[in-house]
């Protein structure tokens, strides 16, 4: 143990003598580790965010969307196919007994004029069942109810973010009028924040929600982009899927619609992020490689600077392995220093982006960053260290 401390101390003494050089050498590793950790943290965060969104839906939830959803490049692609379904489909699906609640969904984007300012907004039109299926909670006022649907009421439930933007505060927004594309709506409720938004994920906090019957004002064709439904907990979801499928097949061909569980979407999301992570790590590895070469370079310089010292140590009895170990420890220390700084910087970076982006750092990436930098130190330190260890003692000690 004494011996190990002594070797580590020998390595660190050198750094104290040349702070700038030490820092510049570990810069490559610093950037590499920073890149790996930050990018994976963002990937992980995004994945977690999306998972959380689907988790809120519960296990007994199904979607019916047009087209072959999961095969045609992800979830978003379905909206490209446009609004396909209509009221006939809704009524058909309502007849499936294992479906306990169902909502059609359509959307409309337009400019909302509030008293404070105008905003570009999106309204989701649904039935009263949507709030239960999506796991929303009310903050102020109330959700849509069946009467709103039947009466085609011009009412909206607002996300907290948009309510605040348009009216200044959440409580201000309640019972106020908002005009969207020249149609005037009354705000009857504001939901509790679901968080998130930003890159990729749906930002429920910035949406309006209205009765699907009212949505027909903007769409004379009366079409829906998809259905969301809750199924009977006591019936196996695969059975329900089969029933829904049979109902849909009465009108559509098999490749014209998809029935998806959130868990299926989740596995697709996981797949995408898996690939994304591999790509990110591969890119960042290039930086780590360059950093490793930098360390190797500086270690060769160190070895020739310390030739005399190696000679002295050999003369008083150091073995080849003692010298090898000393230089490897020095390379590893350099590399870990870079890794630790990169990690620290990544941590700060993640704290900075967290308000806008669901970045999330886990223990694995920390362990990985430090493990990889140690490994780089060993790999790129071993050649210079071997050079030092194989110096002839008599040549080394004569070196000036």
């Amino acid at each position: 143990m004494d011996y190990f401390l002594f070797i580590v101390k020998s390595a660190l003494e050198d750094f104290r003598r040349s702070k700038m050089q030490t820092f510049l050498t570990s810069l490559g590793i610093l950037i590499g580790v920073f890149a790996v950790v930050t990018l994976t943290a963002m990937g992980l965060g995004l994945k977690k965010y999306i998972s959380d969104q689907f988790d809120a839906l519960g296990t007994n939830t199904l979607f019916v969307a047009p087209g072959k959803l999961l095969q045609s490049g992800g979830f978003g692609a379905s909206s490209l196919l446009g609004n396909r379904f209509d009221l006939k489909d809704l009524n058909r699906l309502k007849r499936v007994r294992s479906v306990t609640a169902i909502t059609p969904l359509s959307s409309k984007s337009g400019t909302a004029k509030g008293p404070k300012k105008s905003e570009f907004v999106t309204i989701f039109f649904s039935s009263e069942a949507f709030f239960d299926i999506s796991g929303f909670e009310i903050d102020k006022g109330r959700f849509l109810d069946k009467r709103d649907i039947d009466k085609r009421a011009k009412v909206l439930v607002a996300g907290p973010k948009i309510a605040e933007k348009l009216f200044g505060s959440i409580s201000e927004a309640l019972d106020k009028k908002v005009s969207i594309d020249n149609v005037s709506f009354t705000i009857i409720g504001v939901i509790k924040s679901k968080g998130g938004g930003g890159f990729g994920g749906p930002d429920h906090d910035s949406y309006f929600f209205g009765p699907y019957t009212t949505g027909f004002i903007f769409d004379p064709d009366k079409k829906f982009i998809r259905f969301a439904m809750k199924t009977d907990e006591n019936i196996n979801i695969t059975t329900v899927k089969e029933e829904v499928k049979n109902e849909m097949l009465k009108r559509y061909k098999e490749d014209e619609f998809s029935i998806v569980e959130p868990t299926e979407i989740l596995s697709v999301v996981n797949g995408i992020f898996g690939i994304m992570n591999i790509v990110l790590v591969a890119i960042a590895s290039i930086s780590l490689l360059v950093g490793g070469i930098g360390i190797m370079n500086i270690m060769y310089v160190t070895v020739s600077d310390k030739t005399k010292e190696v000679g002295i140590r050999r003369a008083i009895g150091a073995r080849k392995n003692d010298i090898l170990f000393q230089f490897i420890v020095e390379a590893v220390a350099l590399s870990i220093l870079g890794g630790a700084l990169g990690l620290g910087l990544a941590y700060i970076g993640i704290l900075i982006v967290q308000p806008f982006f669901p970045a999330y750092m886990d223990v694995t990436s920390v362990a990985l960053a430090l493990g990889v930098s140690t490994l780089i130190g060993v790999i790129f330190g071993v050649l210079p260290a071997r050079k030092a260890a194989n110096l002839e003692p008599v040549e080394a000690i004569r070196y000036e």
């Binding site: 004494d2 011996y3 003598r17 140590r313 050999r314 008083i316 009895g317 073995r319 080849k320 003692d322």
Partner: protein, 223 residues
Amino acid sequence: MIRLDKVVKSYKIDEETTFYALKESSVEIKEKEFVSIIGPSGSGKSTLMHLIGLLDKPTGGEIIIQGRKISHLNDDQISSLRNEFIGFVFQQFNLIPKLTVLENILLPSFYARKKLNYDPREKALELIKRFGLQGKEKSYPNKISGGQQQRVAILRALIMEPKMILADEPTGNLDSKTGTEIMELLKKLNEEEKITIAIVTHESDIAKYGKRIINVKDGMVVK
């Protein structure tokens, strides 16, 4: 104690030319001896010294140390012999600048593979006291005088309780007064502690400390 038997050290300069740093020479140093190796620069005395000190390997002949043939030992075993058996003192002191006086003295003990029957740190502190370096334990080599540095080097040579001290021009970088002090110190070690001493020098004044003189000239040992 150490015997060089018909030892040759040569370097191939090119295909046809071979340079002989040391031509076939036989030398023996006995236990408790004080030997001076003297010769002009380039005579091969340093080569001889490096061979005795096991820093270099001969191209011919055999070195026998404590009855063991060097050619039969591997690099680790030879390193251990240097560590336990021989203490080096150099002209340039050769202390490690980033280590303190105490750490420099302790350095050989870190590389020791055998179990020491004493605490090296205690021994180092005792040596420091005995050789008048108190208060310098935490100093760095560049903060103390040349004479002090050479004394630190001698203490480093002593920490492993070696059988032999090899000193290569130990006074070469010191003024004559300090040089005499260092030589007196080595003499004392030889007489009181019965440590074998071999010094290399080109100064006859210094060589006189030896009870036996080995003359080296043109790569040959002349008795």
